[in-house]
């Protein structure tokens, strides 16, 4: 029974996606049901076979809209029962606001992108200086921008939690989202290594001073990781 319900839900999601003219918001919510069916290990081999299964069941007995809606509601209830933490996130006030407001997404994304420029503007400025660009800039005072970097990170953490709560299943089982979180963790550890490992003698990093090879490697890695974070973030909508 569960198999049929999930297969039907998957075919509903596939049908909506294939229609192509539905709002992206709707595609994201319905696709999460299909994605969750796969992620939770139920016997849905592929969306093609799921659609075929649903088609054969609808051929034998005509399925009404009301029955489909009931099946869909059952599938949603099943996935919520399976993941209480995600269910908690979904029914927070923030989650409800983002789901129900038409302009919450562009509003939050504007802040997410502004936060990104604050975060990466400071990070790139420091990394580029370590790599030898603008060697006339002393490194120590460049770290006056660090509070700005942390404010940018805070803005993106808050807006990111808002995105996550609007439909936790979209993100929790999304490979791009998982890679993005892992990369942000790596970037944080990399920055910590820079601060604790090679950047101990702040006052000696004056104008014209060339950074050590290790510092340059850490900075190059930092730029690569952050560019990968942007890439993974943009691919969340496409995986």
């Amino acid at each position: 029974m569960m198999h049929i319900v999930l297969a039907a839900a998957a075919s509903v999601a596939g049908g909506v996606a294939a229609a192509g003219h539905a709002a992206g918001h709707l595609v994201a919510s319905t696709a999460s049901v299909a994605g969750d069916a796969v992620a939770s290990g139920h016997a849905v081999a592929s969306s093609a076979s799921a659609t075929a299964a649903a088609a054969s069941s609808s051929a034998s007995s005509a399925v009404t809209d009301a029955q489909l809606n009931a099946q869909y509601a059952a599938a949603v209830a099943a996935k919520e029962a399976a993941y209480p933490i995600l269910r908690f996130c979904k029914y927070t006030a923030v989650g409800a606001w983002v789901r129900n407001s038409a302009w919450a997404f562009p509003f939050l994304q504007s802040w997410h992108f502004i936060g990104m420029t604050m975060l990466l503007g400071g990070v790139f400025a420091i990394d580029l200086r370590v790599l030898g660009v603008a060697r006339a800039v002393p490194l120590a005072p460049l770290h006056r921008f660090l509070p700005l970097v942390f404010v940018g990170f805070g803005i993106n953490l808050i807006t990111g939690i808002c995105f996550f709560c609007h439909d936790p299943w979209v993100y929790a089982f999304n490979i791009s989202f998982r890679i993005k979180m892992l990369l942000i963790l790596l970037a944080g550890l990399n920055a910590l290594w820079f601060r604790l490992g090679v950047f101990l003698d702040l006052e000696h990093w004056g104008p014209g001073i060339e950074a050590s090879r290790l510092a340059k490697v850490i900075s190059a890695v930092s730029i690569v990781i952050w560019l990968a974070v942007i890439t993974a973030g943009r691919y969340i909508a496409f995986t």
Binding site: V137, P141, F145, V170
Partner: protein
């Protein structure tokens, strides 16, 4: 003009862009934005006084090369994004505002740079403050870039709803 734009919109090229090529193009557009607005923002904030004690304004000019790399990344990727739905963009008020903010940000930034960053020795030392007029230019330019980002985000939701580019 509209005829030409529609021809572009209905071309195989635009179709290809709207399918597989779309995610990498918006990725380049985002990375370019981080370089362009991120580094330009840092320069503007220094002109406005953040980090004044130790950072020489003139030295910050070196970051302009990377601001321009970001700009060219976004001009090229932006033209490709425009090619997908030229007819929609050209009649979209948000798009016109976004372009106006970008042009204003570039012009204000160039004026700011010419009056300040290129003067050399005068602002070569740390601890110097920019004159009030230049600080006003920096604040205005920063406001333009932030407005361009906001216009761009709202623009995505007014034109891309039908290709499913929503979450993330």
């Amino acid at each position: 003009m509209d005829h030409l734009l529609l021809a572009l919109q209905n071309s195989q090229f635009a179709y290809w862009l709207s399918q597989g090529a779309f995610p990498p193009i918006i990725t380049v557009h985002s990375a370019g934005m981080a370089l362009l607005v991120g580094l330009q923002g840092m320069i503007n904030l220094r002109v406005l006084g953040i980090g004044r004690k130790g950072l020489p304004i003139a030295a910050m000019r070196r970051f302009m090369k990377y601001v321009w790399i970001g700009f060219w990344m976004n001009l090229c990727s932006g033209i490709l994004l425009f090619s997908i739905y030229p007819d929609k963009y050209v009649h979209n008020t948000l798009f016109r505002f976004k372009i106006a903010f970008i042009v204003a940000g570039l012009v204000l930034g160039a004026v700011m740079n010419s009056t300040l960053l290129s003067v050399g020795d005068e602002y070569g030392a740390a601890g110097t403050s920019a004159p009030a007029r230049t600080r006003a230019l920096a604040a205005l330019s920063l406001a333009c870039w932030i407005s361009a980002i906001v216009a761009g985000r709202y623009l995505a939701y007014s034109t891309f709803a039908d290709i499913g580019a929503s979450a993330g």
